[in-house]
Symmetry: C2
Subunit: 278 residues, 2 copies
């Protein structure tokens, strides 16, 4: 396995991109794909690095609702597509870059977490014609961080981030991961808990978790975090009603040490101590 035998490697970004702002713009006519994350919502969580990439892009490629969050700029072409066509979208972006364009693939949250970065590498490495197209990934805040910050600090100790969607992996794998993580007393952040067509998964996950966790374990149901309809609900695992969870939600399941405290203004905070008892 010569390709990873203790090699000191340059990161896949260019040297210029590694320096802090301002960095020189890419050479005109040299195409590249930059996969960016807007953060979960709103400009307050969009990093300066991503803002710069968006300004310099010649083409924006992404799922319609995400591209719609980027202000329109004259001379910039926008290519939107539906959900669940990640591979086609990645190929489209790589083809544009192969033609010499600076292409930004727009993800919400962090593009490296259940998002477009893996899809772009999947296509870029599978198709020999894309071997020479530079690809870089610019991180963004992911939904679990935003949700956690809104309710306190539930991710303050060891945790796992799992997707509850069985569209791209078999349900038994999800079930075994839920069991392992809850048996190991990790806090859990669950992405994609439900959708219009995936309705039974939250109930099934709850059953698995209850085999290892106290029914009083706090659960945060975070809906539309950072958006106008933001709502954070704290409920015990035993009382969690799967019907209240839809595709706009993210769930955080506490560990045995996660605390629920009421502050002086009656607000409730959920936080996990940094220390873990012997």
């Amino acid at each position: 396995m010569p390709y990873f035998s203790l090699a000191l490697l340059p990161s896949p970004t260019s040297a210029a991109a590694r320096d802090d702002l301002p960095a020189p713009a890419p050479v005109t006519g040299q195409g590249e794909v930059t996969v960016i994350g807007l953060g979960p919502a709103g400009p307050r969580w969009l990093t300066p690095e991503v803002g710069r990439a968006l300004r310099e892009a010649e083409h924006l490629v992404g799922y319609g609702p995400y591209v719609d969050r980027v202000p329109v700029r004259p001379g910039q072409e926008r290519h939107t597509s539906g959900n669940q066509v990640e591979t086609e979208r990645a190929a489209h972006a790589l083809d544009l870059a192969l033609g010499g364009a600076r292409v930004v693939v727009v993800s919400s949250g962090d593009p490296g977490v259940f998002a477009m970065a893996s899809a772009v590498y999947e296509v870029a490495t599978a198709e020999p014609r894309f071997a020479g197209v530079p690809v870089r990934v610019l991180p963004g805040l992911t939904a679990a961080q935003a949700a956690a910050s809104r309710i306190g600090a539930p991710l303050g100790h060891d945790f796992a981030i799992l997707s509850l969607s069985d569209r791209l992996k078999p349900w038994p794998v999800i079930e075994s991961r839920l069991a392992a993580a809850s048996a190991a007393d990790l806090v859990l952040a669950l992405y994609n808990p439900a959708s219009a067509s995936r309705r039974w998964q939250v109930g099934a996950a709850k059953d698995v978790l209850l085999r290892h966790r106290d029914p009083k374990t706090p659960v945060v149901v975070a809906r539309d975090v950072g958006r106008p309809g933001e709502k954070l609900t704290v409920v015990s695992l035993g009382d969690l009603d799967p019907e209240t969870v839809d595709m706009k939600c993210l769930l955080i399941i506490g560990s045995s040490t996660t605390q629920v405290s009421t502050r002086g203004d009656e607000s409730v905070v959920v936080w996990t101590p940094r220390t873990y008892p012997a």
Copy 2:
């Protein structure tokens, strides 16, 4: 447990803080503690929301090297302290806010991930005199996201984030979590893998992981991500030399599906596919 029986709760931030920029500044004379994350390094990853909180702060409280990363502003007081005094630092910040000051507690990375947010809630809920002090948390990019983005997309599928430090939890707990997470085939990001005084933990963790993972599993040793000395090394788990890991490093351990690919420019990328085989 009336405090979390399916209550619809306001998030702990004020309504104004939830809107997008620009939000009104806090009322003068009303103290508050804002726990912020600078991101792993440099202004390119500092969110606008955090930038605003830093500008509006009357006091900055934090670990010296983190506060040193914030530009000096006239009229702003800076209170730096050493590592491992998180509780005292939190109490100091809360006391300043109790006196009416706008206080920002400065963390690196995300303050909600192995950082000051939990310490502040710990003190704020333990001491009755702090019950009325508003506390809010502003998220930041955490080191695992930055490291992942520099080498590709290793966190593109289910993963766990664990601290390898046994300063605040017993080693057997860490060992059982490593075993559970690797048996469940989660990608792992390991924080605090080593320090000047903690030298054997990486070797011990490697032994646990090798019980569940192929020795060829790719490991990313990410050092000083985003800083001038940034270096990303990809090595197989079997070849990982614990001596090469120190407190400036973060480790990412692949799952069975994590790929290592060489691009046209000879750079190596590590990425985990979105799909998981049946």
